[in-house]
């Protein structure tokens, strides 16, 4: 667009000044007079009847169990999908425990250490039940049930079919594969954190919580506490990473809010790393059984899939345990043009913490599953995987394209994007080097993965789910300050997305006010208009669109006042770059703001009483989502002796429509890639057969660090969406979607002629060496001695 600091500007992030200097302000930084610290005693067993919890004498007011929480409701999330079974998550365990780490009791003391000392004094008696640890096995043992009022262990089963039989019939190539993803955490630097107190002057319960969705948390808390929403204010200060972990109502939020409401003084809870690794092991665990049908050139004709999501014990509020299997069905067909699809997608209840939507919701799993299939088909028909991928991608001429899962792809050139990735990684050179072989004996592999990603989808997609809160219109309010600056208020929350900068850029695009004079205010239900919040890569499209429209609404009001100040007709002036330009002279927004606030005598008699503030609601013209897409390519070197994988090069070609700030787009993408590398190679929350988590410290749970994340080279395409303001699409999640697929494809490219094909995350040295060992003994058996 036109302006240097407006849409498209390479602008440094305004918020980084405080973050880089260590001056961010998080819940953990808050110390309120008389504040008590809260700790939770958590279940040591995965499944059992809670027979008794005995508190030591004299612990009234310092140790709480479920019975003490008078007036506090459980977390129940309705869902209108047929056959969906609801679960009830009590804020502290009642009757039964369903995963290791479920909160049994809450303790309160002046320090966290003292609160933990108190927790040690509580005696618990649990009758252990067999634990359901394997989602697939849970179907076979309906005698043991996570929720006893159910008749099996399935939250939901979704069946979808479109043209399958007709397309699959007579296919020359049939490829079957099994793909599994491990359970993992999201590991934000900051875990859950909440501090609550009662404000007598406001007559309000004030809850500061590390959340992506303050307005939704207010709804959820108000319902759980039985409090009018007007008597509740939820503030989300700086948040050290959300990734979906913080887009749901947390039992700890309920407990701390209840304490503050009951005792009318401040209480604070901070999740520690060990709690996170146990209670936060809530993501990614999918299992796929896939059969692909293709012609002899590798053109995909039909796909048959059975998907099992290991849903853990409880359904989340407001997104439910239905979200993940639903997103899996809808997104599995990916960016490809084929017409036969059959999919059964289930979510099982298991004795683990309840599943939550992690950055890239279901897409990281489906992308891995489908991209492994594309490569398997390519090998089956003896062609280059990128070529087969390219031939199957939806072509630009087909846009907009309604796919086999009835998703409406709005725009883009998926094939060109893949070719850009191929050229940037320089495929031919690597192929040559691969054929030559490495002097150190390692094997080179090159992998590709393509995906498209529904972002900013709204009510028309989600209403039929019947969730407690459906996203619809997003609101923004823009106010011109008396000195000619602007305050932008939005109900979404920025926690790493850089929106204090990008939302200022879109306001600057319309109003021409310098970025340093535009203040973006977010994360406070007391100070911002409503939005369901930040998730689903929606904020820049939704809140950005609202800001743009609010700014546009102000322009004629400013012009009218400006014209009056210049003594000319309104019709003869135009707004340009913060100035009102008339036939003979011009004036500034600053003068207009001055007149409005301080010199009403200079205003036109008939001026617009809306003044210099506007609140506007917005959703895109078509709200089925604007689709970003990308192709990733990577080269790996695989050490066959140690099972080590080194990433030698990693490139991305991506298109998220019009970029508001290319640097922010790249930052979002890089952060996502780091997480995707974690999913691919490192992160895993394993359990033993009793449901005991085996990785509860960072010594056992590996996260990629600076040494493991390569420098990623990014190339951009910009195809504006026809549906959103300025053609902007969401980009918050995409980086995390493709890395497992591209890295597995690269490793398989290196190893397939040894008879090895990896399809289970994370790709650890032990898994790789075990697969090589199996392949070795297979060939030993089949080769004559």
């Amino acid at each position: 667009m036109g302006r240097e600091d407006g849409v498209g500007g390479h602008v440094l992030r305004k918020e980084d000044d405080r973050f880089l200097r260590g001056r961010g302000s998080y819940v953990s930084d808050m110390v309120l007079p008389g504040q008590s610290e809260v700790a939770f005693l958590r279940s040591p067993v995965a499944h059992g009847y809670l027979r008794s919890i005995r508190k030591p004498a004299g612990s009234d007011g310092t140790i709480f169990t479920y019975e003490d929480l008078t007036g506090l409701n459980s977390i129940v999330s309705e869902c209108a999908v047929p056959g969906f079974k609801m679960s009830e998550l009590p804020p502290l365990a009642r009757g039964k425990v369903r995963f290791v780490g479920e909160a049994l009791a809450m303790t309160v003391a002046p320090t966290r250490a003292a609160a933990e000392d108190l927790a040690e004094q509580v005696e618990i008696d649990i009758d252990e039940l067999p634990a359901i640890v394997d989602a697939r096995a849970s179907r076979a043992t309906p005698a043991v049930r996570v929720h006893e009022d159910w008749d099996d262990n399935l939250f939901v089963t979704l069946n979808y079919e479109n043209g399958f039989e007709a397309q699959a019939r007579g296919a020359k190539v049939v490829v079957k594969r099994t793909v599994s993803l491990a359970r993992q955490t999201m590991s934000p630097l900051e875990g859950k954190a909440v501090v609550a107190y009662w404000d007598d002057r406001a007559d309000q319960l004030i809850v500061y919580t590390s959340t992506q969705v303050p307005h939704m948390i207010r709804i959820g808390l108000a319902e759980a506490l039985g409090l009018d929403e007007g008597r509740l204010r939820v503030v989300s200060p700086d948040v050290g990473g959300g990734f979906g972990y913080k887009c749901v109502l947390q039992p700890e939020e309920l407990c701390v809010a209840w304490l503050a409401l009951t005792y009318r003084r401040p209480f604070r809870y901070i999740e520690d790393r060990r709690e996170h690794l146990v209670v936060g092991a809530v993501a990614r665990q999918h299992h796929y059984e896939l059969t692909a049908y293709a012609d002899e050139t590798g053109r995909l004709l039909a796909l048959d899939a059975e998907i099992m999501v290991d849903g853990g014990a409880y359904s989340s509020w407001p997104f439910t345990a239905g979200l993940e299997p639903g997103q899996a069905v809808g997104n599995l067909p990916g960016p490809y043009d084929f017409r036969g699809y059959r999919c059964k997608s289930m979510c099982a209840a298991t004795n683990k913490p309840g599943f939550l939507p992690y950055r890239g919701v279901a897409r990281t799993g489906v992308c891995l599953a489908l991209e492994l299939m594309i490569d398997a088909i390519a090998r089956e028909v003896g062609r280059e995987p990128w070529e087969v991928r390219h031939d199957n991608l939806v072509a630009q001429a087909q846009m907009p394209y309604d796919n086999v899962a009835r998703k409406h792809y709005d725009s883009g050139d998926y094939q060109k994007c893949l070719r850009m990735a191929r050229d940037k990684i320089d495929l031919d050179t690597w192929r040559a080097r691969q054929r030559r072989g490495e002097p150190d004996g390692r094997r080179i592999g090159i992998g590709f993965a393509s995906f498209c990603e529904q972002t900013a989808h709204g009510a028309s997609v989600l209403a039929s789910w019947g969730l407690p809160v459906i996203p619809g219109y997003d609101e923004a309010s823009v106010r011109i300050t008396p000195d000619g600056g602007a305050e932008v208020r939005v109900g979404v929350h920025s926690h790493g997305q850089g929106m204090e900068t990008t939302l200022a850029q879109v306001a600057n695009e319309i109003l021409g006010i310098g970025l340093d004079k535009i203040r973006v205010i977010h994360g406070d239900t007391g100070a911002t208009p409503f939005s369901t919040g930040t998730y689903a890569s929606r904020s820049i499209v939704m809140a950005g669109g609202a800001v743009i429209n609010a700014c546009r609404l102000l322009v004629p009001r400013v012009e009218a006042i400006g014209a009056h100040l210049m003594q000319c007709a309104t019709a003869t002036v135009r707004y340009e770059d913060g100035r009102i330009v008339g036939p003979q002279s011009s004036t500034t927004l600053k003068e207009v703001a001055y007149a409005w606030h301080r010199r009403p005598d200079r205003l036109p008699p008939d001026c617009d009483l809306g003044g210099l503030e506007a609140t506007v609601s917005y959703k895109p013209k078509v709200d089925t989502g604007v689709f970003s897409y990308a192709s990733h390519a990577a080269v790996v070197a695989v050490d066959l002796e140690l099972g080590h994988i080194e990433i030698l090069d990693y490139v991305i070609a991506e298109d998220c429509g019009t970029m508001v700030n290319p640097m922010v787009v790249e930052g979002q993408t890089l952060g996502g890639v780091a997480q995707g590398i974690g999913t691919a190679l490192y992160e895993e929350s394993p359990y033993d057969e009793n449901g005991q988590p085996l990785a509860s410290t960072l010594a056992d749970y590996l996260l990629p660090g600076a040494g493991e994340v390569p420098s990623v080279r990014i190339e951009h395409l910009q195809t504006p969406s026809p549906y959103s303001e300025f053609g902007i699409k969401g980009v918050g999640e995409g980086g995390a979607i493709a890395p497992p697929a591209v890295l597995f494809n690269a490793v398989n490219d290196a190893l397939h002629d040894l008879g090895v094909e990896m399809s289970e995350t994370p790709l650890t040295p032990h898994r790789l060496l075990a697969a090589l060992e199996r392949a070795r003994s297979r060939t030993a058996r089949t080769e004559p001695a």
Binding site: D117, E120, E641, H644, L702, G707, P765, E773
Partner: protein, 276 residues
Amino acid sequence: MKPAPFDYMRPRDTSEAIAALAQGGGEAKLIAGGQSLGPMLNLRLARPKLLIDISGLEALRTMDEESEAWRLGAAVTHARIEDRRHDFRGCPLLPTVARDIAFRSVRNRGTVGGSMAHADPAADWPLALAALGATLLLQGPGGDRQIPADDFMAAAFTTALRDDEMIAAVRVPKFSPSARFGYFKFCRKVGEFPEASGAAVFDPETRIARVFVGALSGAPASLPGLARDVAERGSPAVTAEAVLAAVTAAAPTLSIIEQRMHAETVRRALRQILPT
């Protein structure tokens, strides 16, 4: 994840530390860099009544060159060895090993004595000091004693140290200028404890030949047969089969995959010192 309550003292000298340790009767614990004990305290896996902080004791912080050896005080940090405050003549492996332990913030506090006393099977000093033939100098109420590093670690997190003893120093013998050292560890990520590790020390002048494999379920294991073979025959002795056989004999309970991984690690340590 906060520790259970404990008392804390900073003794004036080693004898005060030893007296406090003896008085504690098993309920007192030394703390040096706290890089291993700290997490154990926070997880409440260690619950001492008293912590005796020896990290500031001058007597434990010196590095001295003796005629035949380097003497490192127990509270010398990995970082001070890494930074080559001394040339470590005759013992060049010391800074090489120190440099690759964890990452700098851990090395700034973590100590040689703490690492030996903690006895993590995957730790670096138990492997390196055993291969170097170092000796630990222990002090207790009953007097001083010495023990070879190779005999010190009994099993995972278990050592020959008595409840009331502390490590005062390690003495690392100097090698001849023709000595060669190999050290290789396989870590899944930078700064992580290794999956497998191997060390080799050959000194043709003194006919010392040692090969060790580390990151086992217990203490690092010596592979004397392999060492002898390599000393006699050189590179031809370092076949994948021979190394695997030696590792399998020393660590029979490992899975075949782990045995291969450890064998490869040892082979790479050996390859560092042998002409290819």
